[in-house]
Symmetry: C2
């Protein structure tokens, strides 16, 4: 990486923290200047606008979440174990650096839905990627005879994502991981219920 | 209601819409002035600060949601039917006036968790009330022999609330009720799974 690329990356990483904690409307370029130690004109030599920084910061945060999920999913051999691993990749999420401000998907979805169409498109794209990941695992499981053929992959991806996102909100609200843990336990049971009767695996 | 009370109520109702759509940081007193047709000094003769308006607006919104849920819950005779009714009271939520900006609990939780301790306390209190409502129905169902005695009412209230909240986020994000409908269908199956084996009721 060139020095310029490193500086741009540093701005994105610090901006990701600020935007996730304070929201788009609540975060300021002054915050990013303070955290990076860079002046305003330096920051705007890399980005055209606050919008452009916000979009880059969101995409960076989502890359971290997808990478963490994929790291756990990819080492599992069966579709059912991959679904369990996906769900487990969110355990302790609110204590991780990227999660101390909550989930960037949830935060950015909530803030952008009525007010910020470009950011909203990036959130939709991020959720599309997560839905596609879950759907592909479910379809693999059906082909391999692990998951019942009547399983609707869109239904499974919706239930996994909405339960995890709602639980991150509740754990953040109370500052207590128990809500996220309960939701993850529930999803393990749900995933077990998708298995063909002769292929039941214990909830991990 | 006196004329002053009516004016104060009008400010709260309009502020509830603005805060729910634009968030606390994104909403301005100018927006409230525009929607109410009142001047700044008139608004501040009823409220000490933007904070005080935000708290009153949040509590008003939550009162509407609780009232809508209670209206459906209270006409049902059994605990299981009451849980089904609670979940169903959120169907079409994002198309209702209070839901066009999304769920005030979710919106305010996300925005206040790191930045606004007073609002955060009001969100916690609102979620406490919803948890207490669900828990009391589950405990009634256990006493009446409808719901299995090993059912943890805290687990049930967590699953119902996080699933509904996450689904409202996703339906708002895509502008499509299908995510909320899938989540509600899933919760009906979950509630049926809590019933004593001889008391199973069909998912409504």
């Amino acid at each position: 990486m060139s020095k310029a690329d490193l500086t741009k990356q540093r701005i994105i990483e610090k901006a990701a923290l600020i935007f996730n904690q304070n929201g788009y409307a609540g975060a300021s370029i002054a915050d990013i200047m303070r955290l990076t130690g860079l002046g305003k004109s330096k920051i705007y030599s890399y980005f055209k606008s606050k919008d452009e920084i916000a979009v880059a910061a969101f995409d960076y945060s989502l890359g971290l979440i997808l990478a963490a999920a994929m790291a756990q999913v990819s080492i599992q051999n069966t579709a059912t174990l991959r679904l369990h691993a996906f769900v487990d990749s969110f355990r302790g999420f609110t204590s991780q650096p990227i999660g101390t401000g909550g989930c960037p998907i949830l935060n950015t979805a909530i803030e952008s839905d009525d007010t910020h169409p470009i950011l909203r498109l990036h959130v939709q794209s991020a959720v599309n990627n997560l839905r596609a990941l879950i759907s592909s695992i479910v379809e693999l499981g059906i082909r391999q005879g692990e998951i019942t053929v009547t399983t609707d992959h869109e239904q499974v991806s919706t239930i996994l994502l909405v339960t995890i996102e709602g639980a991150i909100m509740m754990s953040k609200l109370y500052g207590n991981d128990v809500y996220l843990d309960r939701a993850i336990d529930h999803l393990h049971q749900y995933i077990n219920g998708l298995s063909m009767p002769n292929k039941k695996t214990a909830a991990s």
